[in-house]
């Protein structure tokens, strides 16, 4: 109905009352506000549900009629330029709306329990609701300025939420890193917007595309400048979606509470970059270089994310790198022009990854009670293991998410990833090979995480199984087996010691120092929290399954993971061979802009062969992972195979070496962070020092010097003018003498001439 569309501008503002009220309440009436705790959570979930109902309604309308609604009203009145506000409802928006609201509601529901013992409970909900507001505003905005505004606002929410536990120094640095890195992207975005405004004189998407097309048709565009603008716009998306050069903030962003990682850093905000590129695809598509560049960045990110995820110790960081890699897939798909595949993967990945993060949150939540609240311990996969028995429901949910991300058929990500892989074969074989092998890597690292976490024995108590208390936990290596110590000694790192900034920290991991698992190790980390479980060394306590509210969200997400693939599965054909799946129907209006290859009707034979190929790659990855990480005692059938491997000595050393290279690469995050630290951070710091010095010593020095000289001059004059007649006379005579000398000198000179 027109009516609904007309009032749909209210969508972003529906969740807004919660942060405003909580903010005002916390500042002015802290106690009263804090007493209402659960009410606020209920209110924010309720408001978000209203948005969800609205957006479901809107998308049904979109499916049936697929038209674009735009409404604009003016914001500033100025003669020369006017800013406008508007909202745009089109299929893209409606998909994003549903995605944000469903994941948002589930995460809010989940975090009610997850954060229930935190002092910042209300702050958390305020931030979350504000994030929802800005994200909804971002997807419904109709012009670039509005996008920029909400773009920054989601960045700020992300900053606040990463730094949510502000007593942790690591969180403090992480949130600053995230904001500044995103600001670099915003810098590009703003400049791109300004450049486009200079070319076309408009911010509205549709006017913009139309004017640009006309200009290009008439050949009136400075093409280089347009390419530059498009490149700058893309830089914004690169930062937000954690693509290759600006991805460094995403793994650090895992310092935030886990529900945040699920909502912001996996499902919604990082998808904003993809959304922006998709939104501006009509612009990018007329510049072929940019499309190639996008797919290049995408493929680099795919590979980089996957390799970096290979050996992460921290469960959330592993997932973060996997997110980065998957976002790379989406970017790759967009660069190839297969808009639909990108969006399909965006949806399926959002649900799967949200599920995985919520699962990991549940694990962390139950681990925290045992190992303490430091993220180094509660998120450390080395200390986990064997959780299968203790948290069965979480385990099932996590397994479903893992399988989905690996691309195992009935689950959601299989369909979308398969589509992207298919398209990549049509685009460029090299890219396709990389993308496919990365699919194997994905399967490998996801199963590595799964196996390390859930299989085997609970490693916190490992010393009791092995019987030697002093042995390092870390000798249960991340590679699943006892790794010869020699390789991990310092001599391996002497080359890298310059490059690795966190070497000292790391060295302590490899020294025979055990972590203090029990109470005294965790006292300074989060002073807010009262630690309820004190574990003595002799009694084993095992993690417990999380509460029902958390499990409920996860179960719903499991359902989503199972069934969300339906929206994009081409399961029914009519006579003309046009697929009838919901997604294509939604995205049909824009699909004619695309690369022709994605428009081919799907051939079942081709589909099946491709699917078999990608699934077999995924299984290969899973097999390797289970070969390496599956605890030996539970896989006796592999023993012969293992022995046959271990017999071949030189090979084994070579293998270890390769492993360690990969391990170092992954552990040091591909040395990219280090590089940035050395080149940029130190550079800016040095420059700041230099300019500060310049300012102090030169510019201020001139002033001070001027002041000082005039001071001394004045003092000197004072001494001269003390008021004694004799000194005046002396001076007088002196000057007369000098004058006479000069005079006589000249006089005699003249005489001699």
């Amino acid at each position: 109905m027109e009516y609904t569309y007309q009032y749909s501008w209210i969508i972003p503002f529906i969740p807004l009352p919660v942060p405003m009220l909580i903010g005002v309440g916390l500042l002015l009436f802290p106690t009263a506000t804090k007493n209402l705790r659960r009410m606020w959570a209920f209110l924010s979930i309720f408001l978000l549900s209203i948005v969800m109902i609205l957006s479901v309604y809107l998308s049904i309308q979109e499916i049936n009629r697929s038209f674009i609604y735009q409404y604009v009203w003016s914001w500033t009145i100025n003669n020369d330029f006017s800013l406008e506000f508007g909202h745009l409802i089109d299929p893209l928006t409606s998909i994003m709306l549903i995605l944000i609201t469903t994941v948002g509601i589930l995460v809010l529901f989940y975090s009610d329990n997850y954060m229930s013992h935190d002092q910042g409970y209300l702050r958390f909900f305020a931030y979350m609701s504000f994030f929802n507001t800005s994200m909804l505003g971002l997807v419904t905005s109709s012009n670039l300025i509005q996008i920029y505004i909400f773009w920054e606002l989601v960045g700020m929410c992300s900053y606040l939420l990463i730094g949510f536990w502000f007593t942790r120094p690591s969180a403090a640095t992480a949130c600053q890193k995230a904001f500044v890195t995103n600001r670099v992207g915003d810098f590009g975005l703003l400049l791109g917007i300004l450049g486009l405004y200079w070319i076309t004189g408009s911010f509205e998407f549709r006017d913009l595309f139309q004017i640009l097309n006309n200009l290009i048709y008439n050949n009136e565009v400075p093409f280089l400048f347009l390419t530059l603008c498009a490149f700058l716009l893309f830089a914004g998306a690169v930062a937000k979606s954690a693509q290759f050069p600006l991805h460094v903030w995403l793994p650090d962003a895992m310092e935030g509470p886990t529900p945040i990682s699920a909502l912001i850093h996996a499902a919604t905000m990082v998808a904003a970059g993809i959304f922006l590129v998709a939104r501006l695809l009509p612009l990018f598509i007329i510049i072929p270089y940019i499309m190639n560049f996008i797919s290049l960045i995408g493929i680099i990110t795919v590979l980089l994310g996957a390799t970096l995820a290979l050996a992460q110790k921290d469960i959330k960081r592993g997932l973060a790198y996997s997110t980065m890699s998957q976002l790379g897939y989406m970017m790759l798909a967009l660069g190839m022009g297969s808009y639909r595949a990108a969006f399909f993967h965006l949806i399926t990945h959002a649900y799967s990854k949200a599920l995985l993060f919520l699962g990991s949150g549940s694990i962390i939540h139950s681990m925290e009670a045992i190992v303490g609240y430091s993220p180094d311990k509660s998120q450390n996969m080395v200390l986990m293991g064997g959780l299968k028995k203790h948290v069965p429901i979480t385990k099932t949910a996590f397994l479903v998410g893992t399988l989905s991300l690996c691309g195992i058929p009935p689950l959601a990500c299989f369909w979308s990833k398969d589509e992207i892989l298919n398209d990549s074969w049509l685009y460029s074989p090299i890219f396709a090979i990389i993308a496919c092998s990365t699919a194997g890597l994905t399967a490998f690292y996801m199963f590595r995480i799964y196996l390390l976490t859930f299989e085997g024995h609970f490693n916190v108590h490992f010393q009791n199984y092995s019987g030697q208390k002093s042995s390092s936990y870390y000798s249960i290596s991340l590679w699943g087996k006892e790794v010869p110590k020699t390789i991990k000694n310092k001599n391996n790192f002497h080359l890298l010691s310059l490059l690795t900034m966190n070497n000292n920290e790391r060295a302590s991991f490899f020294s025979n120092k055990t972590y203090q698992i029990d109470g005294n190790g965790k006292k300074r980390i989060r002073p807010f929290l009262t630690i309820t479980h004190f574990v003595t060394k002799n009694t084993f306590s095992y993690p417990h399954e999380s509460d029902n509210t958390m499990l409920f969200s996860m179960v719903i997400l499991v359902l989503f993971t199972f069934f969300v693939g339906v929206v994009g599965i081409p399961f029914a054909f009519n006579q003309e061979g046009i697929h009838l799946d919901i997604l294509s129907k939604l995205l049909n209006p824009s699909i004619n802009l695309l690369h022709p290859n994605s428009n081919n009707s799907v051939d079942w034979y081709e589909f099946v062969t491709n699917a078999i190929f990608s699934v077999s790659i995924a299984f290969f990855g899973i097999f390797i992972a289970s070969f390496l990480y599956k605890p030996i005692y539970s896989s006796l059938q592999n023993l012969n195979l293992l022995n046959s491997f271990s017999k071949r000595g030189p090979n084994r050393i070579l293998g270890d070496r390769i492993r360690n290279v990969i391990y170092d690469w992954s552990y040091n995050r591909g040395y990219i962070d280090t590089f940035y630290t050395i080149s940029l951070t130190q550079g800016i710091r040095g420059l700041a020092e230099l300019i500060h010095f310049l300012d102090r010593r030169v510019i201020d020095g001139i002033t001070n010097g001027f002041g000082l000289t005039s001071f001394f001059f004045g003092e000197g004059i004072k001494y001269v003018g003390v008021g004694r007649i004799s000194s005046y006379l002396l001076l007088y005579l002196l000057f007369v003498l000098i004058f006479l000398l000069i005079y006589s000198f000249f006089f005699f000179n003249l005489n001699f001439l």
Partner: protein, 500 residues
Amino acid sequence: MNYFPWLTIIVLLPIFAGSLIFFLPHRGNKVIRWYTICISTLELLLTTYTFCYHFQLNDPLTQLTEDYKWIHFFDFYWRLGIDGLSIGPILLTGFITTLATLAARPVTRDSRLFHFLMLAMYSGQIGSFSSRDLFLFFIMWELELIPVYLLLSMWGGKKRLYSATKFILYTAGGSIFLLIGVLGIGLYGSNEPTLNLETLANQSYPVALEIIFYIGFLIAFAVKLPIIPLHTWLPDTHGEAHYSTCMLLAGILLKMGAYGLVRINMELLPHAHSIFSPWLIIVGAIQIIYAALTSPGQRNLKKRIAYSSVSHMGFIIIGIGSITDTGLNGAILQIISHGFIGAALFFLAGTSYDRIRLVYLDEMGGMAIHLPKIFTMFSILSMASLALPGMSGFLAELILFFGIITSQQYLLMPKILITFVMAIGMILTPIYLLSMLRQMFYGYKLFNVPNSYFFDFGARELFVSISILLPIIAIGIYPDFVLSLSVDKVEAILSNYFYQ
């Protein structure tokens, strides 16, 4: 029109009421404080009332004019008047000064003199924003220096004498050039001195003379604004002054430089301005980067904020130099917006200094645990200062960007370069502001202070910070509040430039 001398009353009320402070009975500081706050509030209300009922927004001409002959033998007039350019700064002055007097309640030493000086400054500022006579402008300009000097040298920090001397030398040095310019313009071309701004605006000069005048005024205003390399008094002054003085300094005094640039350099000397504007833009761009890079090197909290002010002033210079409608409107919006943000940041820095008694950032840490409200306000205002959308700073900078982009004067390449440099400033701003926040509030480092219990914001401080925050957000959401004041006047000023 009406003949009631509203403006004279507005200008003279604070200083006369302030001088009555000395006749108040000795009943402690409380009476004086309340008296001062009442006077400031009354003044603010009076200003608002006058502007609401006796000022037409859509009229670009000067309104509420008053013209009295003061000194006969050299034609010195008491000429006051308001137009779209000055109404914004005057309201800002009233608002910030009222809040600054409220913020100055902890001052107990010599509170009579202190509050008198605050009120005297109030008069001087409003006087200089509303004078329509060049010489009167100069006198008001000087009048407001003395209170600042005294406030700085008596209630400042450890190095207050050095900073106060530096301040007075810099500004007095600038004032010489201002005086030269005023006299030069006034005495040019006629036997009788003409100092009326209206008649002067229509006068034209030989180019060389105009350039000389321009340089004179520019130096005077460059000290005040400040423009690099004349900025070094500012960090010292701000670092040492009491925070209520800082609020006035950052909130209003810096804006007088910008106001003067627009009022005199742009309006009276259009030819020279169009010659100098590229240089202004270049200097502004350099200043943004320079100050933003100096700021992270500062260990002193207040100096860091002071350098951020310097960096933000660069945007104003660029807006003034762009000679476009949009750019100038953006500059005015930035004047108002930075008036609020700068004042609020100094207020917060001062109040948190009162609590922890630490000046250097690297000694601080973990304050968020004890002072959550200060943390909240500080975060919000730092966000405002780094141009987060939804706050006034963002809009001002955005409009300035458009001013540069749409400027007809410059070629494409310079425009791209300038925009690029400005945008780099946008990356550098969060670096120093957020690292400031991180060093102050994040982490768990406990202080060396023996009793680590701190009082959070009380009602008064919360009131001050929230009432500064509200206009920031209001302007950020609906900028026409400010833009509607100045749009017509800006158009009138710029119409001079199209006749060339």
